[in-house]
């Protein structure tokens, strides 16, 4: 993988973790509920592990690049 392709992929992976939480209109609703939590709350809680998984994948990619001397 070329350096640019790798870092584009990393940014694509990280983008949802930055953009999704800011689109309040997407999750500003009461239903469906989960275990009594309105959607507004459980969706934001769900975003946390999603963001962690995305960031971890980005880390793995960046790490494999670093081994080849590709750092940014």
């Amino acid at each position: 993988m070329s350096s640019n392709a790798r870092w584009t992929l990393i940014c694509v992976l990280l983008a949802p973790a930055v953009v999704l939480p800011l689109l309040v209109g997407v999750y500003d609703r009461h239903d469906p509920e989960l275990w009594g939590f309105p959607f507004f709350f459980w969706f934001q809680f769900l975003l946390i592990p999603v963001a962690a998984v995305l960031t971890t994948s980005a880390y793995v990619l960046a790490r494999s690049g670093e081994k080849k001397g590709d750092r940014r």
Binding site: C11, L14, A15, A17, V18, P21, L22, L23, V24, G25, D28, H30, E33, W35, G36, F37, P38, F40, F41, Q44, F45, L47, I48, P49, A51, A52, L54, T55, T56, A58, Y59, A62, R63, E66, R71, R72
Partner: protein, 540 residues
């Protein structure tokens, strides 16, 4: 408050005090008489320690008190703390390894050191340093406010009307903190952070598993809160219509979407401009530690979200307090057995000590490197710098204490609000500077000045039902009725000024200065030339 709770509280407090002093021997260095050791803990923290240290830095006691308080008071916008602590990690992942690399290669201790090296501009570095100190001071003061709230609920303290006697326990706690920060430097909060976070995790997990069951489960809690807010809104319909009261809701209204989003983004961008986060990040051993932590730190965000919801649990539990900040401590006092309430209170107070220590170290580093060494004593040796920083760390904490006790608490909260606006104005110099030297140094300076002035002026103009100025972080986007975070508006103008002035200054032939960094400095890692495990203080 029972003797058991106070006993547990005092025991845990003494435990961290001993740890704080013992920390000077932990990962022992040849000497603590230089800033790399005292102010950055030897720059050798690995993933595990960094996770606790940076976590302790970001999720402060004040956060743990203030965020549930906003929900308790019916302002759903306060929940923005959760998206804010999600958005921040991808940004840390991208930006901070570059700052780490260039700082390590050049021995930079503060963000202002980097700015001076990059832009060859002492005035700009001074501006960045002063902004950092100014923004950090009220933040330390707020940690005290967090401690004070807990001490009030415990009932430690005397009834004397004299403010000094009344707050004697707070003085004691802060005196102890000041003493071990002085002797152990950044190692003290790093070691204490283990205890703090273990306690906080235990308390929150127990609270969210045990408490909802007491009040019929989460579904019932949300229902109770909604009906309580609905009856508040009905009872105060006239006042709300007249703008004298704020309607309560469990979710931000549609008009508040931009407010919620811009607060989350603005706070995330501001967070890693704060000197104390930079101090935490620069104390790590290599670049991978930072990126690995960006993936691991969201665990705290989950905790923060659950804690925030305890504000709703307090409503369902019928907690009635005049000061919403007391709602969660009061909930613990009412619902937990005495010994566990003691653990919970200790967790919050120790949670104030860790960030207060890191913040005072960060402010002391800024003073020493970018004011003392840059202007007052240009030939300061490493030992002189360390001595200066230690003294200033005492002074900064003392200042914060006087601030909270002698002046008003509201004043500290207003200034903290302004601190977020101010610190974000250093973003063009730092973040843009990590990628390009295209911006002219005086254009960056002008952008900073304009952003600071406009942001302060906007904040001054915000009235709330209880105060005429500095009433909140939001203003209307010019020309619309949409509320947005002041810091983001000021940052936008800041960037426009910097970008527009750059070609103008260049065309006018104004000297752009010499960049003392090289492109490969920004990607250097441990083991590369000039990036060694322990910096040799004698090499300078």
């Amino acid at each position: 408050m029972s003797g058991v709770a106070v006993g547990v509280f005092v025991f845990l407090f003494l435990l961290v005090t001993v740890m704080g002093f013992a920390a000077s021997r932990w990962r022992r260095a040849a000497s603590l008489d230089n800033l790399d050791e005292w102010g950055l803990g030897g720059r050798g923290f690995g993933t595990f320690i960094a996770w606790f240290l940076i976590g302790g830095d970001i999720y402060t006691a004040y956060t743990f008190i203030a965020v549930p308080a906003t929900l308790y008071a019916g302002s759903a916008v306060g929940f923005f703390a959760v998206p804010y602590t999600i958005v921040v990690y991808p940004l840390i992942f991208l930006f901070l390894p570059r700052l780490w690399s260039v700082s390590h290669r050049h021995g930079y201790v503060t963000p202002a050191d980097f700015v001076e090296g990059r832009y060859d501009s002492r005035p700009l570095a001074l501006a960045i340093a002063l902004t950092g100190i100014l923004a950090t001071m009220p933040y330390i003061a707020l940690q005290l406010v967090g401690m004070q709230v807990v001490l009030e609920v415990i009932g430690i303290g005397t009834d004397s009307s004299n403010w000094f006697v009344k707050d004697l326990p707070l003085f004691l706690a802060f005196g102890v903190l000041a003493a071990y920060t002085y002797s152990s430097g950044l190692r003290a909060p790093a070691l204490i952070a283990f205890v703090k976070d273990t306690l906080i995790y235990v308390v929150i997990i127990v609270a969210v598993i045990y408490l909802p069951g007491q009040f019929g489960g989460w579904g019932a809690i949300f229902d109770t809160v909604e009906s309580s807010f609905a009856s508040f809104n009905a009872d105060n319909a006239d006042a709300i219509a007249a703008g004298q009261a704020t309607p309560r809701a469990i979710m931000p209204a549609e008009a508040a979407h931009w407010a919620y989003g811009s607060l989350a983004l603005g706070s995330a961008l501001a967070l890693f401009m704060y000197p104390h986060s930079v101090t935490g990040v620069l104390s790590t051993r290599n670049r991978s530690v930072i990126r690995r932590n960006a993936a691991l730190l969201p665990a705290y965000s989950f905790l923060l979200g659950l804690l925030a919801l305890l504000g709703f649990v307090a409503i369902a539990a019928g907690v009635k307090v005049a000061n919403p900040q007391q709602s969660v401590p009061q909930l613990f006092e009412n619902e937990f057995p005495a010994w566990f309430a003691g653990v919970a209170f200790a967790a919050i107070v120790i949670g104030a000590l860790v960030p207060a220590a890191i913040m005072s170290i960060a402010a002391a580093n800024l003073w020493t490197r970018n004011i003392y060494r840059a202007y007052l004593n240009r030939d300061a040796t490493h030992a002189e710098q360390a001595r200066q920083a230690k003294l200033v760390s005492l002074l900064v904490k003392f200042g914060a204490l006087v601030f909270v006790l002698a002046l008003s608490k509201d004043f500290a909260i207003n200034l903290q609000l302004l601190g977020g606006v101010w610190i974000l104005q250093t973003l063009p110099a730092i973040v843009v500077g990590l990628y390009t030297r295209w911006l002219h140094r005086w254009a960056v300076f002008a952008g900073w000045a304009v952003g600071m002035a406009w942001g302060t002026w906007l904040a001054y103009g915000v009235a709330s039902p209880v105060q005429a100025h500095f009433g909140g972080p939001l203003v209307n986007l010019p020309g619309t009725e949409t509320k947005v975070y002041i810091a983001m508006l000021a940052l936008a103008l800041n960037l426009v000024v910097a970008v527009v002035l750059t070609p103008v200054l260049r065309a006018a032939g104004v000297d752009a200065g010499t960049d003392h960094t090289r492109p490969d400095d920004y990607t250097a890692d441990l083991g590369d030339e000039g990036v060694v495990e322990e910096l040799d203080p004698a090499a300078g």
